[in-house]
Symmetry: C2
Subunit: 207 residues, 2 copies
């Protein structure tokens, strides 16, 4: 039928296998932590075996690095930066996205926290390779947020005396803090309290 150039239907596909491993690793590490997950756990959630794993990643740490660079960092941009393009006022967009991605999130999923924050807390002080990659992702997040805030400031939507970089840092901190506290305190009511406070803060920054 359709076995031309696209859809090769091969039994061996380097790219696809790598993605399969990364996806399984993401879920396992997301729920149980990097140090709490074994390579056998990961390949067990896969149609592949350990041999395949070490064909793709020279070590467990290398897998972790790839996870940050190829899965988590793009996910951050896709979930928290891209959507802001649709808003004239990014502060409105940030609150809306929080409501959508955190407030309406399944509590069972929410108690797992934020994939980026989880790795930061667990691995940043333990391994330098993790540290630099996680730091890069966080700074990128801050910079991209800052970009949108600068635009809003130029449009006269944010008070002229607001330091946008400083505000962007605070906003990223709030994301991590939201996830972190919600992870510790089960009650979803906490989210309403946090969002309410942030909303009040944002109101004082708006012209």
């Amino acid at each position: 039928m359709s076995r031309k150039k696209l859809a090769p239907a091969r039994t061996r596909d380097l790219e696809r296998s790598r993605k399969e491993i990364l996806e399984a690793a993401f879920l396992e590490i997301f729920t149980r932590g990097f140090q709490g997950v074994s390579i056998d756990d990961i390949v067990g959630k896969t149609s592949l075996t350990k041999g395949a794993f070490y064909h793709h990643f020279s070590t467990k740490l290398e897998l972790g690095y790839a996870l940050v660079e190829e899965v988590i960092q793009p996910m951050i941009l896709e979930r928290w930066i891209r959507p802001l393009e649709a808003y004239k006022n990014p502060l409105v967009g940030i609150l809306k996205q929080m409501e959508k991605l955190i407030g309406e999130c399944d509590p069972a999923h929410l108690k797992l926290g934020c994939p980026l924050n989880n790795l930061v807390q667990e691995m940043a002080p333990v391994d330098k390779g993790f540290k630099t990659r996680l730091q890069h992702a966080l700074l990128l997040w801050i910079s991209e947020t800052d970009g949108h805030l600068k635009r809003a400031k130029a449009d006269g939507l944010i008070h002229s005396d607001v330091n946008t970089r400083q505000l962007a840092t605070f906003i990223v901190m709030a994301h991590e803090g939201f996830y972190g506290l919600l992870k510790g305190v089960g009650e979803p009511a906490v989210f309403a309290a946090l969002l309410g406070s942030l909303k009040r803060y944002f109101a004082t920054l708006t012209v």
Copy 2:
């Protein structure tokens, strides 16, 4: 000399040994995570052995529980709640304590984060016993903060339309978020940005 009732100078002291283990465990787990530290690591930092460890704690998890209840939770109260008693306006006290305990902290020590937050992020979704104890510590922190805020509101220092419980939740979130972000981004300049934003927020709440 002084071998009366106090200072027994015994070679075997249940309380002291337990404290020694807890203290060593705290430092090791603080730097490398609960799952990243072995019991042999802990007793290695001690004048005792594995036999002593299992005489005091039936399992590694039990040690973790004791750590939260007997070391970390009291530490939170001592560092973040007690000092507020000296301030008429607790919002001023909170900023001052942050400057003192975070801003003036040795960066090498700061990159390890907050002991409570570390355990929340690593262990809350993994083990239920951890979850409940960590949740209890966080809610206590929020409640105690709320108490001080209520007092300030009654004194007319905080606007009457402020929901103090909501604000207390936000403040605890900010503590965790500060530590978390500083852990990920090495630069101490980030602290200034975060504190600046929080200061601006607090100013809008004050009468």
